[in-house]
């Protein structure tokens, strides 16, 4: 019986297949097996959100998903947020609002922020803070992150009109 499981999945719109042991998390598969190192490991237990990816339309902490569990699923990582060389409004807003310093938490925050705006295009500050509660930042103090999300929401709404 083979030690590794063969998994076929869709990542950032492309078919991707890989081999992994059942004990390897999706985060480990993304980073070490597939080479998508944008998602980061902060805590490995679901508390910090640095590993956040979208799985079948919902944000999850990929450290608590097993690679074998994503057979046939649809995944979006930080690498799939920008479209070619065009930054997503959320990414642009993080830059313009200085919502990052060391940047380690940033991929997780951006994936989570985009997911919020996809679901709720006009969130209140309270809604933003609670939606992002599962993402931790040691550098910024969160204020500029919240402003960046509100800025992105405004820009996206203006663009949609």
């Amino acid at each position: 019986m083979p030690a590794k499981t063969y998994v076929q999945t869709t990542i950032n719109g492309e078919a991707v297949d890989f081999l992994c042991e059942p004990r390897q998390s999706l985060l480990e598969c993304l980073r070490d097996v597939i080479g998508l190192t944008g998602s980061k490991e902060g805590c490995n237990d679901g508390n910090c959100g640095a590993c956040t990816v979208v799985l079948d339309g919902r944000i999850v902490t990929s450290c608590l998903v097993l690679g074998v569990e994503v057979e046939g699923r649809d995944i979006t990582t930080i690498e799939g947020i920008a479209v070619g060389s065009t930054l997503h409004p959320v990414q642009q807003a993080y830059l313009e609002n200085a919502a990052l310093q060391c940047g380690i938490c940033t991929p997780g925050f951006i994936v989570a922020s985009k997911a919020l705006l996809d679901q709720n295009p006009n969130p209140t500050e309270h809604e933003i803070r609670f939606w992002l509660a599962n993402n931790l930042c040691r550098c910024t103090g969160y204020d500029k992150i919240v402003r960046a999300v509100m800025d992105a929401a405004n820009k996206m709404q203006e663009a949609a009109v």
Partner: protein, 152 residues
């Protein structure tokens, strides 16, 4: 100076600056918001080893002996070091840049010599490869490697 002497809005310069007063985008920002930035842990290379430090679970603990032989025998472990592998640098006050320190005390903080000074003090360090490609056996995690070191 009293409040009567205070002059608000003293203009220091009327020059316009290119950068001061502007809100530049940080130069590495685009790489960071796209996940393209490579942090230390993101680097991959053939033959890359991974390191882990064994921290003391005890403070003020005299180290009687450390037996590294079982850890060294584990598959994938390339090296195990303790303070005996580091030279004794002697003592003397050195300039650390923004402060000074006595080398005698600083060296003991690298890897514990005779005593684990505090909980978390580094005792030993291990360099090992990651999981092998096709073994079904229990591959020792870095945590279990350091646990082997603990049993001394």
């Amino acid at each position: 100076m009293t409040t009567a002497d205070y002059e608000p809005n003293v203009v220091l310069s009327t020059k316009d600056y290119d950068v001061i007063g502007s809100r530049p985008i940080r130069p590495n920002g685009a790489n960071k918001v796209t996940g393209r930035s490579l942090y230390g842990v993101d680097y991959q290379a053939a033959g890359l080893l991974h390191g882990k430090v064994l921290s003391s679970p005890h403070g003020h603990a005299r180290i009687r002996s450390i037996d590294t032989s079982r850890a060294e025998a584990l598959e994938g472990v390339r090296a195990v070091i303790t303070s005996k592998d580091l030279p004794v640098v002697g003592d003397g006050v050195v300039d650390l840049g923004e402060s000074t320190g006595d080398v005698k005390y600083l060296q003991d903080n690298v890897l514990a010599r005779k005593k684990a000074l505090y909980k978390g003090h580094a005792i030993a360090a291990v360099a090992a490869t990651r999981a092998p490609t096709s073994s079904r056996r229990r591959y020792p995690s870095s945590t279990s490697i350091t646990r082997h070191l603990c049993r001394s």
